[in-house]
Amino acid sequence: MRTVGLKLVLTGNYALAYAAKVARVNVVAAYPITPQTSVVEKLAEFIEEGELDAVMIRVESEHSALAACFGAALAGARVFTATSSQGLLYMHEVVHWASRARAPIVMGIVTRTLGPPWNIWPDHTDYMDQRDTGWIMSFAMDNQEAFDLTLQAFKVSEDPRVYLPVMVGIEGFILGHTSMPVEIPEQNLVDEWLGPRRQPYVVDGSEYMAIGNLALPEDTEEFFMDIQNAMEEARKVVVEVEEEYSKITGRPFKGPVECFKCEDAKYVAISMGAWSGDLMESVSQLRDEGYSVGLLRIRYYRPFPGDYIFEKANSTKGVLVFDRAISFGSYGPIFLDTAASFLKHTRKTPYIKNVVAGIGGVNITSDDFSRILKRFVHEVESDGVNVFEWYHKGKVVR
């Protein structure tokens, strides 16, 4: 059943736009922000060229971008939007609103840091700011994955076991503006696999309903609990969806966390996003040098794949978590999730360490990763692990 379809050279941003196109979205509402702009420019082009039968709402702000998507979703449309950085924060209120109303929506996040100072380069600060919103959150490492995860997001979002919005992260520029070959599956296969729009209710006047009336504390808490329940279900659904997807596309199944040389590793790194590729180079090189290292790359951040990470990393001597964001006054978000996930299973964890780096778009190369990994191995061997480090300009800042 495998088909190659089309192979095109696409930027990460265009990959998101193509995914929305083959998902046959009905409504796109978006507001321009660097480095997201070319996502919606491409969709506007598809729509104006007649290649995509959809309505483009050129809204006056990001708050309205997601609000318009929310309204269209409730009224029965498959919708898509994309944003970045300050724009994502501006729409943050509606980000919460969409998941509480159980509205299936797909949104691309072309990540970029937050100001001041003005800085258009990528880290995960904006994305991590959304981690408590009740959205399913995935993150791509390359443009093919940006396309694949976005297309799968529609299926995940519209699954009755989930019925939550999904955001797909890619780093601005590093993927967003970088061209790579991307395989686009044939439209008819996508149509057959994805099927028509599916949602828990539709507001179109055919039925009396009021969405979001004032509710008592206990009722409200139950809605929250059900979002948590849906997150648990979503763990299965994202796996199922990817399995189906790899059958029709022939692309390898990677799961919520990709294991790269982690099976027999004594030390594992954990990371998310494009720099995981550089980290893989580093892991391969260190393996050649005799270090027993591996990598767990997070593809789905929410629901957090904590059990999977525990299973893969519990028998190691050390776990090194790379974060491209910081929860000021605490640690990097992935580290916090990882540490908590271990505590669910055991009181005797391996060494777990957090390195924050790459903030504001600072480029971290495989040489940097090798340096950090080697030092971590030596720290574990000598029982002197610092739980937290900020890696900056080639040096460690504690």
Binding site: K7, E171, I174, L175, H177, S179, M180, P181, T365
Partner: protein
């Protein structure tokens, strides 16, 4: 893996060149990446674009200053301070758009070791092919032909096909002609 930097002026099409190179590499069955300088590009100011080409999937991301190949869309830029941030690896290749075939003086580019230099007059080729937009000769497609001649990894045919696909129609044909002309007229000077 080959890491390639295109140096040009904002508006000269360095980013387009990098993207077409990815298309050409794909035609050759290779893996590739192409991307602009991450930041604000201003018309006329010196600016870089980047490409990676490899037989294996490319895991590495991000900009780089040390490259295997440097393609200079405006030959004069290699004599300006802007070029000094880039380093050519040992056995690296420099491809220049220049009307002169002698080795330019005062190269600001840094070298780690041996290098070769290829020269082509892409500006003249653009003018002859009537590839002038808003007063600017379009040199990027010519420089891709020269790049193909200089490194060989991506064949002339692949570049021509990629250029045609990228632009389509008559524009594609004319640009492809520029690539072919440049391929033929590129000479090694060092």
């Amino acid at each position: 893996m080959l890491e390639i930097v295109f140096i040009g002026r904002g508006g000269q099409g360095a980013v387009t060149a990098a993207n077409i190179l990815v298309e050409a590499a794909m035609i050759e069955g290779l893996h590739a990446q192409g991307f602009p300088f991450f930041g604000a590009e201003r018309r006329g100011a010196p600016v870089a674009a980047y490409a990676r080409v490899d037989k294996k999937p490319i895991l590495r991301h991000g900009m780089f200053n040390t490259a295997d190949v440097v393609v200079v869309l405006d030959g004069k830029l290699v004599q300006q301070d802007y070029a000094s941030q880039f380093t050519l690896r040992d056995k690296g290749v420099l491809v220049l758009n220049s009307p002169h075939t002698q080795i330019p003086r005062d190269l600001k580019l840094r070298f780690e070791g041996d290098y070769s230099i290829y020269v082509v007059n892409a500006t003249e080729i653009a003018v002859k092919n009537k590839l002038v937009i808003a007063g600017w000769p379009v040199v990027n497609t010519g420089m891709l032909g020269a790049l193909s001649r200089a490194i060989g990894v991506v064949s002339k045919n692949a570049v021509v096909e990629a250029v045609k696909r990228y632009f389509g129609g008559r524009v594609g044909e004319v640009n492809a002609k520029a690539s072919e002309d440049a391929y033929e007229q590129t000479v090694r000077v060092v």
